[in-house]
Symmetry: C2
Subunit: 319 residues, 2 copies
Amino acid sequence: MRQAGRYMPEYRALRQKASFLELCRTPELAAEVTMLPIDLLDVDAAIIFSDILVILELFGKEFDFIEGHGPKIENPISTPEAVKLLEARDAKGGLQYVAQAIRLLLPRLKVPLIGFCGAPFTIASYMIEGGSSREFHKTKNFLYTHPDAMHQLLTKITDATIDYMLLQQEAGVAAIQLFDSWAGVLGFQAFHSFSLRYLDRIVRQWHRIGKVPLILFARKAGLFAQDLVQLRPSALSFDEQTSLSQIRMITPENIALQGNLDPELLYAPIPIIQKEATRLLQEMSDDPGFIFNLGHGIKPDIPFSHVKALVDLVKNYRS
Amino acid sequence: MRQAGRYMPEYRALRQKASFLELCRTPELAAEVTMLPIDLLDVDAAIIFSDILVILELFGKEFDFIEGHGPKIENPISTPEAVKLLEARDAKGGLQYVAQAIRLLLPRLKVPLIGFCGAPFTIASYMIEGGSSREFHKTKNFLYTHPDAMHQLLTKITDATIDYMLLQQEAGVAAIQLFDSWAGVLGFQAFHSFSLRYLDRIVRQWHRIGKVPLILFARKAGLFAQDLVQLRPSALSFDEQTSLSQIRMITPENIALQGNLDPELLYAPIPIIQKEATRLLQEMSDDPGFIFNLGHGIKPDIPFSHVKALVDLVKNYRS
């Protein structure tokens, strides 16, 4: 989860030279940043340095990341007409730089490389809000008021997402993680109609054309674990609110479970981090399908030494 | 849920004359504001106009509400020593103005009056953060680093909360709602240790000394519905993420279920609000223990006419 980032002095040094988007769009730089956690932390897998919002390029949507404010998307969607006009070009055309970064990385890596993209509801919410949001009231207003247009938007994003996943697969990633970061803001009915339905479409399609595992992460949606399990992705990733050992009871053995240490725990002193991480490792120590992970991304002001201590503990753990 | 508030022109007019805290602390004004939704919306119950933070007065903590920024608490707690020094005086001494507002209201009301207070974890998080928070990292750091002090803090708040509930009961409320607004930010283990345990203490104690029903609301904690049901409060209130008809399957008939229309829906056009509210009413129409409510509070910029249309629909609904 956000392996490379501002909590690393080496990353901050690179950001002196290039903006976040320049790092994403320049294959050599994206590859260099992707390598940082491998070189500095010795993690077991690399995750391509990018952002879920790069897919907006396929729709011709301009966007940028404003320091301290997060993403800003030009001309957010506010009408059904705007959805009708939306057209995605091929990922091969618009996101070749991601494929190039993947290809540059493969010969340099001794560990698997994970690709990723945003889930349709999450991408749609950015397109409608025009940026980050706390309450998502534009998105909710849009989906309640214009459900048909919302479904049309989600369908267009779903198609582009599958295209983008194929691009990453063809470039050589060993797995792809799908992030539904904002699915948890939806009510019960809305989650099923506007998030789950499109996760289902992607997973079904991936069962036909995917050659690499698909890891599905829907944040703050542990309440819907049963629904997510029924999609049968290769792996499910959960945030810290769930108990992975409880989720295992309803999850077949051939679906891996990934997660879910509270990322806020990394603010605590190292012995506390070690104690809580050990508790999670013990809870899942009998589970061959467990992948240790955080419940969400690492915050920029987390001390690097805390992250290093966590990775060392996990790598040296023997049950 | 926040029946009286800035979405009402009449409330905004009163706020020209007095600050939010002055309204809370002046029994005549608090009573006047409490009456607004009765007079203007004709709702089936009144909820005393107050704030969960008034309990801080018992601990001698200064606080205020800053326009557009939410609450600000002086000298937030950051050390175990600060917890040790914390002492609560009697609710009878510190929160008499709430009891007086309740007494003023009883002869004026033809509907039941509901009292309320914050749950221990939620109040503790305000004391530690010093205000509202998005990530709660001071609170989490404190509870992970100083679990014993956190338990001491929660115990002190629990005792003061029960005392405050008794004060409201003696003044004459017909029911009390306990709000654990921020329980949902905790990870699985932390929720059980630092939120649920204290909800359990309060509900157990209330089974002994309470004469009026206790309604328990833990926001974004639908994942823990089973645990909450096991506490056996008189009623459970849920936010919009849960399906109340699913919750009913695990909830005995003698526990009422309250909720849970998405408050963001109130931004949508009236016919959409009516459609979605009807869907919820139909879902629960066979359930004699259902109390229609929002999933959380009404936002200040919601049009009053939308709230009025919702109340009219619910009051006129016949299954």
